[in-house]
């Protein structure tokens, strides 16, 4: 039993934003009531959490992470990835299928869920592959994946090159009510590009990736969604063009949603001037103009979700020449303070920010989370928005350290991360 009192409860799903106490029993939310108000509950034996000065929100959901297990356990495991999630305030994560073996069948999905049940401290929702082996040749068995517990399909990390195959994938995914999550990059235009094509790439001589590489595929996925009626979710939006295409598609009623990651609204390609491989990510960090468009897209709800694309890599992949370095940033333990900056800057209201990390991803994935409704699972994050600290990668719970934000002074952190009524993390990174 838990009694969380004194905090500002924000539950966008139920239109709640007020000072309330929250009573949890047997892993469920039993009741919300004014701190000084009357209630009918016997609180004897309940742990009391003082949430004064804090926000009490539905457990945050990161619908785009790479947990690396099975296959790349030296980078991350389901256990460490979940601990990183909890430290960052996330109570649920959806993990991408580019493991080894690829999550393109029931056995791998079951393995992930089994490992998560045994070693994971947060909820893990597997995303299955669109195509067998992520090879872009044949459909993966989506029915079997769904039955085993996959909540979406994606060839994340790769675009399904063949448009006919993508069309059929969308049609077939509808049979199983699976959203299709699209990684949008025209492979030929990307070539062996290492960063955004722009002034910085021109100056430092790294091969550039033009915005058009993303825009073209976003436009294709929108067209295919329109053709097939499939629910399409655009992963890690990084360009102004994508935001414009998605805005226009939504205005026509196309069934499309979108996410972006904290690095795309926080960093621009100028950061790559020093050849620091921690800034290498795919899609690449774009221009300052794109960063502004991403923020505008968040503000106007063109971009529905903030997801981290948590991509752990070891020094083996990062401590090498820029051209040879792997792309990816670990995001779980820095996402919350970076996202809170959007509120400080006036880009988002607190409610809107919480929506993008709770209600929206829950709706897109069709999972019963992201709410503090009575009777629902007690997945709760208690955020201290003013706690100041310095990002220190050596204290990350993740196995990997590949963050460009090391040493940043940030504000805001999760004080408590609660999954099904159990406190899985207290104190919480960073700082």
């Amino acid at each position: 039993m838990l009694l969380i009192r004194g905090g500002r409860v924000i539950d966008p799903q139920n239109g709640v934003d007020e000072q309330l106490s929250l009573f949890v029993k047997d892993g469920k939310i039993v009741d919300l009531f004014p701190d000084a108000g009357q209630h009918k509950h016997n609180l004897a034996g309940a742990r009391i959490i003082n949430a004064e000065g804090c926000l009490v929100v539905p457990g945050l959901i990161d619908m785009h992470v790479h947990l690396r297990e099975p296959g790349h356990e030296y980078k991350e495991t389901i256990e460490t990835g979940c601990r990183a999630a909890a430290a960052g305030g996330f109570t649920s994560v959806a993990c991408m299928p580019n493991t080894s073996p690829v999550n393109d069948n029931q056995a791998v999905t079951e393995y992930i869920l089994d490992r998560a049940a045994k070693s994971g401290c947060v909820n893990v929702y597997p995303v299955g592959a669109i195509t067998a082996g992520l090879k872009g040749e044949f459909l993966a068995p989506m029915g079997e994946l769904r039955e085993a517990g996959a909540v979406a399909v994606s060839d994340d990390g790769k675009t399904v090159k063949n448009s006919e195959l993508m069309r059929r994938a969308m049609e077939y995914a509808k049979n199983f009510s699976l959203p299709v999550i699209c990684h949008c990059e025209d492979t030929d235009l990307v070539g062996n590009g290492a960063m955004n094509e722009g002034c910085t790439s021109m100056r430092i001589g790294l091969k550039g990736i033009p915005n058009a590489a993303e825009d073209i595929i976003v436009a294709r996925e929108v067209s295919l969604s329109e053709l097939t009626g499939c629910r399409v979710h655009i992963a890690h939006v990084s360009t102004k063009g994508s935001v414009d295409i998605i805005r226009e598609a939504k205005s026509r009623g196309v069934n499309v949603t979108a996410e972006t990651a904290p690095h795309y609204f926080t960093l621009s390609d100028e950061s790559l001037e020093t050849f620091d491989t921690h800034f290498k990510v795919n899609p690449p960090l774009r221009s300052a103009r794109d960063v502004q468009s991403i923020k505008k897209g968040l503000k106007e709800n063109v971009i529905d979700v903030i997801a981290t694309d948590h991509a752990p890599h070891s020094s083996l992949e990062k401590d090498v020449e820029f051209d040879y370095a792997a792309s990816g940033i670990v995001g779980l333990e820095t996402a919350l303070p970076l996202a809170l900056r959007l509120v400080t800057e006036g880009v988002l209201t607190m409610r809107s920010l919480i929506e993008k990390c709770t209600v929206h991803p829950a709706q897109i994935l069709g999972i019963p989370k992201g709410t503090l409704g009575r009777g629902c699972d007690a997945d709760i994050t208690i955020i201290d928005p003013s706690a100041a600290g310095r990002v220190d990668v050596s204290r990350f719970k993740s196995k990997s350290r590949n963050s460009p934000f090391n040493g940043w002074e940030v504000e805001g952190r999760a004080r408590y991360t609660i999954v099904k009524g159990r406190v899985v993390e207290e104190g919480c990174a960073p700082g």
Binding site: M202, R203, G205, L206, K207, G208, D319, E321, F322, D323
Partner: protein, 305 residues
């Protein structure tokens, strides 16, 4: 140390005063190569390692001769004989070399930014002898030295760089160096090879080959890499040489005292006609000769005394 940094990684890191110091020092070094006994004891007891991850004849030999004329011990490492093929990282290779106490490491590498990895990890001085499409600062300095010898000044000069600008570290370093010294720089080539935002470097894109050739004091032709034919950048070598090559016909419209330069190696008949490469205004071999003097100057300024 007369230069602010222990390393030479880019032209951008140098002030105009530092560039002039290097060119002035090269002036006095040049004479040594014309002596009967081409050796001075300046760097006796110093060790220089040439670490070349890309094939090179000119630049590697130039550094080796520069070091030897100053009495440094020069060791050459090329990829075929190193542990690179065994999978060792650049940083580890650098640390292992450092354990043998070199004073300076010259590195050439196909990846932009690779010399910085060594510069950050090693106490030894690092000279960038070309990294990917990023920088080739010693080439730009020897080009500037050659132009200064002939023209005396950079003020009022226009330099045209023609060819594959996108993939050229020589172009990037030269634009930075020449504009810093007061020259105007124009670039031209197939627009598939002119990077967007090149104006941000201070270079103008010439409207035509005619303009690039006619209205300029120095023409710098860049080597076209044969393998790029397969990368959609131009239709054929024949078409390239017809529209972007420098031949005698085109040269008729150039200034009478135009200087013609090329960083080498030259593809005769592709970007430059043989009669032009061997003609009276071509400075290609003088560039090579000056390369030794400029590299002697840099070795001296970085690790002398």
């Amino acid at each position: 140390m007369p230069l602010r940094s222990k390393d030479l990684l880019t032209i951008e890191q140098l002030s105009v005063d530092e560039i002039n110091l290097i060119l002035d020092t090269a002036d006095s070094m040049k004479e040594i190569s014309s002596r009967d006994i081409k050796k001075v004891p300046t760097l006796r007891g110093k060790t220089v390692i040439n670490l070349f991850y890309e094939p090179s004849t000119r630049t590697r030999t130039s550094f080796e001769i520069a070091g030897k004329r100053l009495s440094a011990d020069v060791v050459n490492i090329s990829t075929s004989s190193s542990s690179v093929s065994k999978g060792e990282t650049l940083k580890d290779t650098g640390k292992n070399l450092q354990a043998m106490s070199p004073d300076l490491v010259v590195i050439r590498h196909s990846a932009a930014g690779a010399p910085k990895i060594l510069a950050d990890a090693l106490p030894a001085s690092i000279i960038n002898a070309g990294d990917g499409a990023h920088q080739h600062p010693t080439q730009a300095l020897l080009d500037a030295f050659t132009i200064r010898e002939k023209k005396g000044t950079f003020e009022g000069l226009t330099v045209s760089i023609i060819g594959d600008i996108s993939h050229s570290r020589v172009a990037r370093s030269n634009v930075a160096c020449l504009t810093r010294l007061g020259a105007r720089v124009k670039v031209y080539g197939p627009f598939t090879m002119i990077p967007y935002f090149v104006e941000e470097l201070g270079a103008a894109v010439a409207p035509s080959m005619e303009d690039a050739v006619a209205d300029t004091d120095v023409i710098m032709m860049l080597r076209i890499q044969m393998e790029r034919q397969s990368a959609f950048l131009f239709p054929s070598l024949r078409e390239y040489s017809t529209f972007f090559g420098l031949n005698l016909e085109r040269l008729k419209r150039a200034k009478k005292d135009v200087l013609i330069m090329h960083p080498g190696p030259v593809n005769r008949g592709v970007e430059i006609a043989p009669e032009v490469a061997d003609g009276p205004y071509a400075l290609i071999l003088e560039q090579v000769a000056n390369g030794v003097a400029v590299r002697m100057a840099l070795l001296y300024l970085l690790i002398g005394k």
